[in-house]
Amino acid sequence: MIGFRSIGMALGLLVASLLTASAAETGDWQEVLAKARGQTVYFNAWAGDTQTNDFIDWVGREAENRYGVSLRHVKLKDTAEAVTRVVAEKAAGREEGGSVDLIWINGPNFLTMKKQGLLFGPFASHLPNWRFVDIADKPSNLVDFTIPVDGYESPWRMAQLVFVFHSARTPLPSLPKSMKEMLGWATEHPGRLTHPDVRNFLGATFLKQALYELADDPKLLQTPATEETFATVTAPFWAWYDKLKPLLWQGGNEFPNTGPAQKQLLSDNEIDIAISFNPSEAAVSIQNGTLPDTARVYVLDGGTIGNTSFVAIPFNAAHKEGAMVVANLLLEPEIQARAQDPMTMGNFTVLDLDKLDAAQRQLFERPADAVGLPTNAELGTALLEPDPSWMTRLVAEWQMRYVR
């Protein structure tokens, strides 16, 4: 554990030192603000979650009031839609004036865009609020899927794998606390466990989490997978999954398409455990009525994978200044505090609370009466994402083995 945490931190420090060098030029931030005024920023973001959509709406009003930047939420079903759009623009030779200004991006899409030279940056280092970002205890703010962020994306919310359950129907002590126990539990309760489709990032994360726990030497996951390491490291995982699959919901032949679709199955009583990347999932779902008051979340004993959600700016964005202003706004302490409120999104902050003044810190105090909200202690320390090569191979191999 400590081993790869320190690798992440070392990487983080390296990147951070590079970033502070360029952050010295923040004198031109006033110029950015001036150019941004009056711009319309097209924020391409997954829109499957009403809470997040409402939050983006609210951020838009703040951006207008504070900086004269008008924010338009381009609603995506899948982040790759925005990537495809930028590719289409590149194919059409539009090197500037592109239609996508800001993308809520995830690891694999980030990797693709960075590799294809489709991103603008480094810009995150130029953001004044960068100084609040936690780069010591939240290494995933600097390293996305083990790929250094290098200032090409700016963090906006923390995510950690949690399992959602009905405490009234299935009390916590009866639930599995590790992926190994998951198999025994599924044997006793056939058909009541599933995971999202492996093409979905949450489904892939379920597999990664299991791989982490079942691998003999999880440290290898922080380095790119080779033919050899992949075969040896994943062997116990496949043995485990072969036994688990027929015990899953619908005999392991079908999987819910997304995390929310899986949550609906939990709500419909079809399954007993659902996976989520939001520690406040139960609290927020109770709040909006999609789960009963007795919904709770828990993490596995060995810890669960955590990561950071980022925003990035395409190379040809028409309103780069406005996009930077919005990225900076997303890091404002008040905005981060609001995002963390379970009444809105309940997302844990990417900021280092020690870097804030007392008044700002107070904004982050969690409501004592919020039902279903885990404490930081309950969440434990987040595990680092494996190198992306593991996920790609794992999903491909899964499909080779289990797609009829």
Partner: protein
């Protein structure tokens, strides 16, 4: 004079995006895609496609579900219409066609999924008697491996569509007289309809059947909701690859899209080839006279199944409507246990502007399509042209090629023209899909119009324009209105074209519904799905009412 521009304009509107779109599908299928570094001709795309996990099953799944959905919906639609000829009750059921036709595929599929899933409405009714409090874990309904749920979901939309097409075609035939003669020869009403009316209608509905066939073979949204996922049908597989973050998947995706096109062409050819021997058998049976063994039973069953399908469709919509005002609705409750109107009250205003945009795009694309279609048909008739095969295939292209494949080409074109993200671009992209449906709905009734009406009017000294406006249009009022209703509904249901042409900036009810469906709040999905259906309902209502109002004094036209 100006009329001869109509075909040119139509071909431009449809041809350019299709040609470009196809080019952008063909090139990556053979390795060429400069934007992501593909510069050399190769067959790697095909190798990757053929070796993809589950490819063979995906292909077979597409074929079986596509063909089954088409054949069954055709049989059910014919059964329903035959029953309608003998039963006033079935006749009256026709008015329920509107809601079914108008609801977009995705909205209906979401409702249907709720109906049949293990924790869905049907099982909840069953558990009233069994008393179970948990859904049966062993029950597999939605997303079953053989695609039965997908076929059933497709029937919900396709059966009513074919019924409407048969009804529209009927207006060109003296149905009552033919039925009366056939009955005078001793045939029961359903048999009379099948033997004497249907053979005259079939040629007119052949194109709609092909559209249904092409759609069923390449459907994406319904298949994502109701079809199996491991592997999914070929079109879904291609769509997922096209929108994958791994841009290398663009190559097998393009190959799959081309294969999908070949698949559709092959199935249409198959259907065409099967027509002649089947028609021969049918003719012999009809000529033999007398009653057919089992015919009445088969017709009854098909008709009853059609009614059942219609009922399921309506229940699907009702389920979504209930969800939009449900607060708590958990298994095994038949009805929500707590209600709320807050969704409608809080989000009503926000969503109103989306409703307006949706209606505006649908109205513009349908009206322009109607003008172009009528212009082409009238031009064809005045010039004495026979409908050309090439033009017909071009018209078909948007319905044959998987949308995602050539929409990328449209997107690149629009970006080059700096038109992406505009309302104009979205209307154009919608027309690519609306125009074929409007044209297909109109072409046969227009061509089947008895030329003696026009000849009589001309003999009385009327100019061609006047004949067109005062003779042909009123005579065609019903097919025209049906075409408008279909076009409007098609536009409202478009997801990918709106997204691609609108650069995601133009949001309609359908883009809202699909993005929300990727989340999981069934209440919000229910509200948007209901609105998605309600808008075209209004237009269908008008399409049914207008002939009655317009032709109150001309009895035969209003029927």
């Amino acid at each position: 004079m100006w009329l001869s521009f109509a075909p040119v304009l139509t071909l431009t509107v449809l041809g350019i995006p299709i040609a470009l779109g196809l080019a952008f599908t063909l090139m990556p299928a053979f390795g060429i895609f400069a934007a992501i570094g593909g510069t050399e001709l190769s067959l790697d795309s095909w190798r990757a496609l053929f070796s993809a996990p589950g490819f063979a099953i995906a292909l077979i799944l597409s074929l079986t579900t596509g063909l089954a959905a088409t054949v069954i919906s055709f049989v059910l639609a014919v059964g329903f219409c035959a029953m309608a000829a003998q039963s006033a009750f079935v006749q009256r059921l026709r008015r329920w066609l509107g809601p079914l036709l108008a609801s977009p595929h995705s909205a209906m599929a979401l409702g249907f999924a709720f109906l049949i899933m293990p924790s869905g409405w049907l099982v909840r009714f069953v558990s009233l008697f069994t008393g179970s409090t948990r859904p049966p874990a062993e029950l597999v309904t939605v997303q079953d491996p053989s695609g039965i749920a997908l076929i059933a979901g497709l029937l919900l939309k396709e059966t009513p569509y074919l019924v409407l097409m048969i009804l529209a075609a009927s207006s060109q035939i003296p149905v009552r007289q033919i039925l009366a003669s056939a009955r005078a020869l001793g045939q029961r009403p359903a048999a009379a309809w099948l033997k004497a009316v249907f053979p005259q209608i079939y040629p007119q509905i052949r194109l709609p059947i092909f559209a249904v066939l092409a759609f069923s073979l390449s459907v994406v949204d319904v298949a994502m909701i109701l079809g199996p996922g491991n592997p999914p049908p070929l079109a879904v597989m291609a769509t997922l690859w096209f929108s994958d973050y791994d841009l290398d998947l663009y190559y097998p995706a393009s190959a799959a899209a081309i294969l999908q096109l070949l698949l559709v062409v092959a199935c249409i050819a198959l259907w065409w080839l099967a027509e002649t021997p089947l028609a021969g058998v049918g003719r012999r049976l009809i000529e033999r006279g007398g009653a057919l063994k089992g015919q009445a039973t088969v017709t009854m069953l098909a008709g009853a199944a059609a009614i059942l399908v219609g009922g399921m469709g309506l229940a699907s919509i009702l389920g979504m409507a209930l969800w939009s005002i449900a607060k708590t609705w958990r298994f095994p409750d038949i009805l929500p246990t707590a209600w709320q109107m807050s969704l409608w009250l809080d989000r009503g205003g926000q969503i109103l502007s989306t409703v307006v945009t949706t209606a505006l795009i649908a109205t513009l694309s349908t009206l322009i399509s109607l003008a172009l279609a009528l212009g082409c048909l009238e031009n064809e008739q005045r010039q004495g042209l026979r409908p050309g095969k090439t033009a017909l295939w071009l018209l078909y292209m948007p319905l044959l090629v998987p949308q995602i494949a050539f929409l990328f080409g449209i997107q690149v074109l629009l970006i080059r023209l700096r038109l992406d993200g505009t309302l104009f671009a979205v209307v154009w992209a919608h027309m690519v899909f609306v125009l074929p449906y409007v044209f297909l709905s109109l072409a046969d009734p227009f061509r089947a119009l008895d030329p003696r009406f026009a000849a009589s009017a001309a003999a009385l000294g009327a100019k061609p324009l006047r004949i067109f406006l005062e003779v042909k249009l009123p005579l065609l009022a019903r097919p025209i209105l049906a075409g408008v209703a279909v076009g409007f509904a098609v536009s409202v249901g478009q997801y990918l074209p709106t997204l691609f042409a609108g650069a995601g900036r133009v949001s309609t009810l359908t883009t809202e519904a699909v993005t929300l469906a990727s989340g999981g709040d069934r209440r919000v999905i229910g509200m948007v799905a209901l609105l998605q259906s309600a808008l075209p309902w209004a237009v269908y209502g008008l399409a049914l009412l207008l002939p009655l109002l317009l032709f109150r004094k001309r009895g035969d036209l209003s029927r």
